[in-house]
Symmetry: C2
Subunit: 398 residues, 2 copies
Amino acid sequence: MRQHRFNKSIPFSQAEYDRRLALTRAAMDKAGIEVLFVTDPSNMAWLTGYDGWSFYVHQGVLVFHEADPIWWGRNQDTNGALRTVWMGDDRVFGYVDTYVQNPAKHPMQDLAGHLAAMGHDKARIGTEQDNYYYSAKAHLSLMAALPGATLIDATALVNWQRGIKSGEEIAFIRKAARISEKIVDGLLERVEPGVPKNAVVAEIQRDAILGVDGDWGDYAAIVPLLPSGSDAAAPHLTWDGRPFAKGEATFFEISGCYRRYHAPFSRTIFLGDPPATLVKAEAALVEGLEAGLKAARAGNRACDIANALAAPLERAGIERGARCGYPIGLSYPPDWGERTISLRAEDQTVLQPGMTFHFMPGLWMTDWGMEITESILITENGDAECFCDRPRKMFVKT
Amino acid sequence: MRQHRFNKSIPFSQAEYDRRLALTRAAMDKAGIEVLFVTDPSNMAWLTGYDGWSFYVHQGVLVFHEADPIWWGRNQDTNGALRTVWMGDDRVFGYVDTYVQNPAKHPMQDLAGHLAAMGHDKARIGTEQDNYYYSAKAHLSLMAALPGATLIDATALVNWQRGIKSGEEIAFIRKAARISEKIVDGLLERVEPGVPKNAVVAEIQRDAILGVDGDWGDYAAIVPLLPSGSDAAAPHLTWDGRPFAKGEATFFEISGCYRRYHAPFSRTIFLGDPPATLVKAEAALVEGLEAGLKAARAGNRACDIANALAAPLERAGIERGARCGYPIGLSYPPDWGERTISLRAEDQTVLQPGMTFHFMPGLWMTDWGMEITESILITENGDAECFCDRPRKMFVKT
C-alpha cells in the first residue's frame, strides 16, 4: 500500500513507529488537537524516521488522527525524506526554494496552503511553541495564513510520549554507552600535562564516530565539553588549543551516539595531587550519586533523586543551584535532553520502568568544577541501572 | 573601567567589537529600536565574544544605544559569559535554574523584569523573530510580561551588519580554509571501495579539530555531509557505516572552523569510471562556477552570480531549483550560513568588497548528486578570490 521508490534503512520496526503514533494520537486527543505540527527534529525523527541535517530551514511533520503523517520541508530535502521516512512517497511534501530565508514570504504560508487544501483551515492545530526550531515568525506567519484555525500550544507533547523507552530503543542506548565508555577510556590514556586540548578532542571525535564492535558512531547532539581549572566552573565551554596543565581538574562531558540515541557520561581527571577541596567534593558527590541511584526506583518521584543527592552535598557545604538530570534518548542538536522531566526538588513526576535519564549533578562553583555523572535506566524492581560501567570517581594522574 | 575577574582569551580587538556595536546601533536607530534583544548565538558571539554550547536554553544579549551590552542567560552559564565576553562583569545577568524547561514559568519573565527595572517597559524592543533560537513561546511570554512595550521584528538585523568582513575576520576564514583543504586532502587519500563511511568521517573530524600549523580546529556548525550514489540526490544526509562502493559518486560537504569562522568546501569523488551523465554535469558545473566567479565582482549583484552559473548548466539540460550560495563567517549550529543574501535570480543585493560567500551550486537530481563548491571573497577589483586552493573538479579514483 505504501509506495517507496528508494531503498531505506529505517532504524526501527513498523510496530515501533505504530506504537509511537498511537501514543501521540492519544495525547492529541486529550489536548483537543485535530492536527499536530511537529518541528522539533528529534520528534520528527522519533515519529517518522526522518534523518538529515536540514533543521536550519523551516520543516516539520504533520500528524493526523486518521491518515499517515506528512513530512513537509524544503524541496531539496524531500530527497532525504523519501529515503528515510516510513510513510509512502505521497506523504512527502516540498516547498519551493525561494521561500528560504526570504523576508518577502514565509514557508508557513506554503504549509497553510496544504492544510487549507486538506480542509483543516478551521482546525484545532497543535504547534510546538517552545520546542526547537519553531520561531516566533513561523508562529505569527501560520496564524496570519490560517485566520480561522486555532493554534494550540503543544510544547513537549511528543517529547512526553518519548519518556518510556521500548526494548528497541534501550538496545540503541546500550550501543551508545559502549561508545561513551570507549571515549572515556581514551581520555584516561591521552590526557597528560602539555598535551593540547584540541589534540585530545580530535581523538574523542574519532573514537565516537568509529564506534564499537561494528556499530558505527553518529554525531552527538552536543560537542564534547571539557573546561579545566577555574574554567570548569562554566558547564558549557568547549575547547581550545591550550595544553592540559598539572594542578588542574578537567571535567569531560561526552556522549556516544548510535543512530541518534545517546548515553551521556562525564568523568573528571586531575593532573597531579588534588587539593583537599576537590577530594572532599568528590567524596560527597559520589555518596550523593549512590544515594540518588538508590532513589531512582519505579514508583519514586523525580524529586526523590534530587533530594537524595542533595543531602550528602549539603553536609559537605556544597549547594548546587541547578537541576541534576534530565531524560535522554533520541536527539539532534542543540540538546541531548528530552526537555520534559527535570531531576529537581520541584518535579513530582513518578518514575516508571523504561525511563532513561542523564543523572547529572555537575558541580560548577565560582572557580572550580567537577562532573561525575551516569546515564541510567529505571528498572522494574530495584535501583537504577547504569548504562556505562566505569569507576565512579575523579581520576587522578600523578 | 570594565572590571573582569577572570582571564579571557577574546578572539578580536576591542576596536573590532566597537565597530560591530556601532554598526548595530546605527541599524537599530534606522529601525526605530531602543533596545535590541539578540538570541541568535552567532550574533551573540559576534557582538560580545560569548562562546559556549548553551544555546539549548533561552539566553540572549541586550544591545542599548548608550550603555554596554548585557549578556543574559541561565545562572550556571554566567560562569562561561564571565570568561568570554568583553563587557565588564556587571554586564552579565543570570536567571535561576527553575526557569529551565518549566511550563509553569518562562525565562522571558525574568528578562522582562530586568527590562522594566531599567525603565524599558514601554520601549520599542527589537527581537529576532525568525532567527535561532527565539521560539514562539519566548515571544508570547515576553509580550505578555511587557504589555506596554512594542516588539519590533529585528530578524537578521545583526546578520546584515556581519556581511562585510574586517581584516581580522578574513584572517580567521583563511585559517579555516587551510583546515578545509587538509580535510579534502585526507578524503582523496582515504576514500576507497570497501572503506566504511564512518571510518572516513572519523578522520575528517580528527583532521578538522587537530587544525593546521598550530591553529587549533573548532567544531563546524554543520557536520560532514557525504551521501553516495542515488542518496547524493539528498543534500543533507550525513553518514552511516556502509562501505564506499565502486561505480558511485560521493559528494563531501565539509568546513574547517577556526574560532567559529568557517570556510565551507565541497568536492565530489567518483570510484571507478564515471558515466557520461556525470562527466557532462561536471563540465557544465565547472564552467558555471568559473562564470560565477567572474560575475562575483564588487558592484555586481547577487543575482548576477546565479545567472552566470545557470547559463552553462541550462545548456547542459540541468535545471537547479535552489539558490547557489549564501554568506559565510562566524556561525554556531545549526547553520554556517549568515541568512541574509541568497545567491539567486531574485536577489538584487549589490556585492561589496569584504563580503564572503559559500558559492554552492549543488546538483541534487532525482537519483544522483554532485557538489563542487568554493568559499569566496569579494575583492576591491577583479574576480572573486577563492579561499581554498584545490582542483575544481570531480575527483576520479579508478
